[in-house]
């Protein structure tokens, strides 16, 4: 019934437009000229559309201001890394620049469209070129953009060229991507990551670490990314299958994860998770989100569904390169904590060599339940990390 009504409405709308068109034709001034050269703009058309052009300028300005007011606080807020403020500063300057250009050029374009709207008795001004003008509006963008590039490249060099900058006490972390999960491997006490390749994947060694490599013995695997505040973290990225991308927006960090290659990115976290949770903008955002969630929960429970969990802020690692069906649900929690807490967390974890050795042993308990011990995935760590379980469940549903 609804579809029939929709069709009827559309048909009536079509007829209305058709009739309106016919009425407009009847109101054409100077019908004779209209018939000679039909469907060409008349002075009246030019007048109406000229005013509309100027009105459209108002729409552009108002919509821009409205968008900034309504959605401006969606932006990411306080950066959580050392290079973050430099990034945000460059973004600010660039945005101001393009904003000014936008305001000025749109004004000129739409104002000229309005003020020069055509009339029969009007004559246009034959003005074909002016090299001086061309030079001026070439050289100004050159200078402005040159300045922008220099600042941008300076920042880029600071952020991206890690090897020269690697501090003595940098922490090396491997972030390992696969469809549709992240795992991390810490370099352990020796500060070096052991070699790895997918060909070594076996049982509990889900990252394919070469257990024959001396550096690999003290490596520590985890399914939650913990980072100590104030230390340089050098990430080494590896992929098991297809292209992924490690996107950590609060840290202003992103790097593709490429199968067959090790890519890298480095930053110094400067704000712990607890500190960020106290950030006023974040608190406002979280409150707003929880408001939305409780509204949705109320609707859900009313129809017999399950309520949504309330949200507490956490840093996130998201996948940001199309990688397959569950690309939209490939995430890992990131926790930034002070160095002492981080060291405590790390030391409570089992090294890889211990984990592999343990999995290889025949079942110690007499009940002979060896199978479950190896069947569990990377949960040889002390804590069952929340994201891991969510992953498997999500995978089961979505695949």
């Amino acid at each position: 019934m609804t579809s029939l009504l929709v069709i009827v409405v559309l048909v009536l709308l079509g007829i209305a437009i058709w009739q309106l068109t016919k009425i407009f034709h009847l109101t054409q001034v100077g019908a004779a000229t209209y018939n000679e050269n039909p469907e060409v703009a008349t002075d009246r058309d030019n007048n109406v559309n000229g005013y509309l052009m100027f009105g459209f300028l108002g729409f552009i300005y108002i919509f821009t201001i409205y968008s900034m007011m309504k959605w401006g606080d969606l932006l990411l807020g306080t950066p959580a890394s050392e290079h973050g403020p430099q990034y945000d500063n460059l973004m600010s300057i660039s945005m101001w620049l393009i904003g000014i250009v936008q305001v000025l050029t749109q004004f000129l374009l739409h104002y000229f469209s309005f003020i020069n709207r055509g009339r029969k008795d009007r004559k246009a001004f034959y003005y074909a070129d002016n090299d001086k003008l061309e030079f001026i509006w070439t050289i100004i963008p050159v200078i402005v953009l040159a300045g922008l590039i220099l600042y941008g490249l300076y920042a880029w060099t600071n952020i991206m060229f890690i090897d020269e900058e690697a501090k003595e006490d940098a922490i090396y972390v491997e972030v390992y991507a696969k469809q549709f999960n992240w795992e991390v491997r810490y370099a352990g006490k020796d500060g070096k990551l052991g070699k790895a390749n997918v060909r070594y994947i076996e049982g509990v060694n889900t990252l394919g670490v070469d257990m024959g490599d001396a550096n690999a013995q003290d490596d520590i695997q985890a399914s939650e990314l913990h980072l100590p505040k104030g230390k340089q973290i050098i990430f080494k990225f590896r992929s098991q299958d297809v292209l992924h991308s490690a996107y950590m927006p609060h840290f202003r960090a992103q790097m593709n994860v490429v199968p067959g290659m090790v890519t890298q990115f480095g930053f110094v976290p400067t704000v712990t998770t607890d500190e960020m949770r106290q950030d006023p903008a974040i608190m406002k955002k979280v409150a707003h989100i929880n408001e939305l969630r409780s509204k949705k929960s109320a609707e859900a429970t009313a129809t017999g569904g399950t309520a949504l969990e309330p949200y507490t802020f956490d840093y996130l690692l998201l996948c940001n390169k199309i990688c397959g069906a569950s690309h939209y649900n490939m995430q890992m929690k990131i926790v930034v904590e002070d160095e002492a807490t981080f060291n405590k967390w790390l030391s409570a974890k089992q090294t890889l060599s211990a984990a592999v050795k343990e999995s290889k042993q025949p079942a110690a308990p007499a009940t002979g339940e060896a199978a479950p011990a190896t069947a569990k995935d990377s949960t040889n760590t002390a804590k069952p990390d929340s994201t891991a379980t969510k992953m498997t469940v999500a995978q089961v549903i979505k695949k």
Binding site: P38, E39, V40, A41, N49, M53, F56, F59, F63, G72, L74, L75, L76, Y87, M91, S94, I98, V101, L109, F112, S113, N116, K123, A124, F125, Y126, Y127, A128, D131, P141, L145, I149, G152, L153, W156, T157, I159, Q179, N197, R199, G208, F237, D241, V242, L243, S245, Y247, A253, N256, P259, G260, I289, L292, Y311, F313, N320, K321, G324, Y328, Q331
Partner: protein, 606 residues
């Protein structure tokens, strides 16, 4: 480039070019409408096929926008269009979302904006505006269209494959696009995509070669390169860019076919998937990215340059004054063409390539902003002190400049490698390229259709419907893509089936609904255009020979199409195309075929 046309070599003045066809018999339906060798008919064929593909592409975008705005809800339209397999219970499947996004991008970039825009207008305008009987090779032209048609059919057929069409994004990076185990669409769907694109590329190359040869060789007497309308300059340079860059995509496609079907390892190495280590060794996905974007970037200039050429022409004839800065416009077109071949790496800043390359590409990318800015300022100055005839084509041309500025400016953010770190592959990128391609270039295409409709079909489109079409589209276009920038800067990645797994993004839900609603309204009003277009072909008011009172040669041909374009001799050209409102003339336009008066001076530099 010579200063005057090749009149000695141009021996076919008095008689028509007898190509493969014979003037002295009635053409059969097949010869006239199907396998036509006439560039004007081929232009219409490109336009029709491009329009049909565009309708499919837009419908796809509405489907996935609905999924984003109202995630995982059941819609009847999904049930109807996607069926039970792709949308069980009316809920879109997650990999089908990726398939829709992929095919939408492929169709829009290649089939609509390349073939539908460049193919239509190069075919229509090049012979007419340079004063030639037809393209250099009518036969190759016909083949180029039919290969395009076949590639379109194959692409549409791939939608009906059981495991789904190609689903790795329109950029189809391997390994995702190489391995059927990685996603279903990378099986037969991807194979058909590759076959379709290979044929498309062949078609495009044939067309481009034809256009280049025609412009160089077949200009009429007096038509020097610097008397060519900017439209021809733009279409000519577009064809050259195409010839340089499309073969690289073809090579990437062939290497990918070899990796997929013949066991090679160009792009693949060290992969463990579906429980086993694959045999590939030594390849790199980054190589594919380089090869893809070596075409991919010039491709977007292949999309925008024809639109720029059309807009320059439409703006000048509707402003009744010369295009401002003719030489600067030509120089900008050439600069854009050259620079477009050395900026491809700005799509790969965080691909894992050496950061030094990132610096190089940032530098070249920000350079390319300069000729684009020069063009925008020249268009604005063309409007200044004009006598603007605000026909629908003119409105779309002004809208073109407006959205090109807005979209182009955000390109400056993306071209800066540092800033790209946090906005790469987010909705910020999607907003940027839709504003410049999906809106700006599309406005150029609409402007061209409204303006040259009388030349294509001998009738006029309804201007009131044109006005309604423009104004609603203009509002909806900004309504869809302006808010999207905020979504991107909030960190939302693209190609996400749903955002509900991230409470962090819960506050983006209402923005996404706003975007989708504007998209639905905007798409609905395209029906006004489609109605106007198809109705006017048959029932539109009959056009006079030169309805826009323009200077260029196409308006000197009769309204009824004839082979060889002019009934008698090809006209000779005595002046540049931009003598509008020239002092010393009664009319506010002086066609190119009007000889210079005694004592008349050239008031321009060219």
């Amino acid at each position: 480039m010579s200063a005057v046309g090749h009149d000695e070599i141009h021996a076919h003045e008095g008689h028509d070019n007898h190509d493969a066809h014979d003037h002295h018999h009635e053409q059969t339906f097949i010869e006239k409408y199907i396998f036509s060798l006439d560039h004007k008919m081929i232009a219409k064929q490109y336009l029709l096929t491009g329009t049909l593909m565009g309708i499919i592409g837009i419908i796809m975008s509405l489907l996935f926008r609905m999924q984003i705005a109202w995630p995982e809800e059941s819609f009847t339209i999904f049930k109807v269009l996607l069926g039970d397999k792709f949308a069980p219970g009316g809920v879109m499947r997650n990999d089908i979302y990726l398939a829709l996004v992929t095919i939408h991008g492929t169709i829009m970039v290649f089939f609509v904006l390349t073939a539908g825009l460049s193919g239509t207008f190069s075919n229509l305008l090049i012979p007419l505006q340079i004063g030639a009987r037809d393209m250099a090779s009518g036969f190759m032209n016909m083949l180029s269209y039919w290969m395009f048609f076949i590639s379109a059919v194959i692409m549409v057929c791939s939608l009906f494959v059981e495991a789904g069409p190609a689903s790795a994004g329109w950029t189809i990076y391997p390994p995702l696009s190489a391995l059927p185990q990685a996603i279903g669409g990378s099986g037969l769907g991807m194979t058909l995509w590759l076959v379709s694109m290979a044929i498309f590329i062949a078609s495009s190359l044939m067309g481009s070669l034809n256009y280049v040869v025609t412009v160089i060789n077949l200009r009429t007497k007096g038509m020097s390169m610097t008397r060519l309308p900017l439209t021809i300059w733009a279409l000519f340079v577009t064809a050259i860019i195409g010839i340089v860059s499309f073969p690289v995509l073809l090579s990437a496609a062939l290497l990918l076919i070899m990796d997929r079907s013949f066991g090679t390892s160009f792009f693949l190495s060290d992969i463990y998937i579906a429980g086993e280590v694959l045999h590939y060794q030594g390849g790199s996905p980054v190589l594919f990215e380089h090869l893809f974007w070596f075409l991919g970037h010039p491709e977007v200039y292949i999309v925008i340059l024809p639109a720029m050429g059309l807009v320059s022409e439409i703006m000048t004839s509707n402003a009744r004054k010369p295009i401002f800065g003719y030489r600067a416009m030509i120089a900008s077109i050439l600069a854009i063409a050259f620079l477009s071949t050395i900026v491809w790496g700005h799509h790969m800043f965080i691909s894992g390539m050496n950061p030094f390359l990132g610096s190089v590409f940032t530098f070249t990318t920000l350079l390319i902003a300069i000729p684009s800015a020069v063009k925008a300022f020249n268009w604005i100055t063309t409007l200044w002190r004009g006598n603007l005839q605000l026909n629908p084509a003119m409105l779309f041309s002004i809208g073109f400049v407006s959205t090109f500025i807005t979209g182009g400016l955000t390109g400056i953010i993306l071209g800066d490698s540092t800033l790209d770190i946090n906005v790469h592959d987010t909705y910020f990128v999607v907003a940027h390229f839709h504003l410049v391609m999906g809106i700006s270039a599309l406005y150029g295409m609409f402007a061209g259709i409204y303006h040259w409709f009388p030349k294509l079909y001998g009738r006029m489109m309804n201007k009131t419907l044109g006005y309604i079409h423009f104004w609603v589209t203009a509002v909806c276009a900004y309504g869809v893509f302006f808010p999207m920038h905020f979504v991107g800067m909030a960190g939302l990645p693209r190609r996400y089936y749903t955002n509900t797994n991230f409470p962090l993004f819960d506050d983006l839900a209402d923005v996404n609904v706003v975007i989708t609603l504007f998209a639905l309204v905007g798409a609905a009003f395209q029906l006004v255009f489609l109605w106007n277009f198809f109705y006017s072909i048959f029932k539109g008011k009959k056009a006079i020979q030169n309805p826009w009172r323009a200077n260029t040669l196409e308006w000197t041909t009769p309204v009824e199409h004839i082979h060889g374009n002019w009934p008698g001799e090809i006209p000779e050209v005595y002046r540049w195309p931009y003598d509008y409102s020239k002092p010393g003339h009664d009319d506010d336009f002086v066609p190119q075929t009007v000889p210079m008066k005694e004592g008349e001076e050239e008031l321009h530099h060219s």
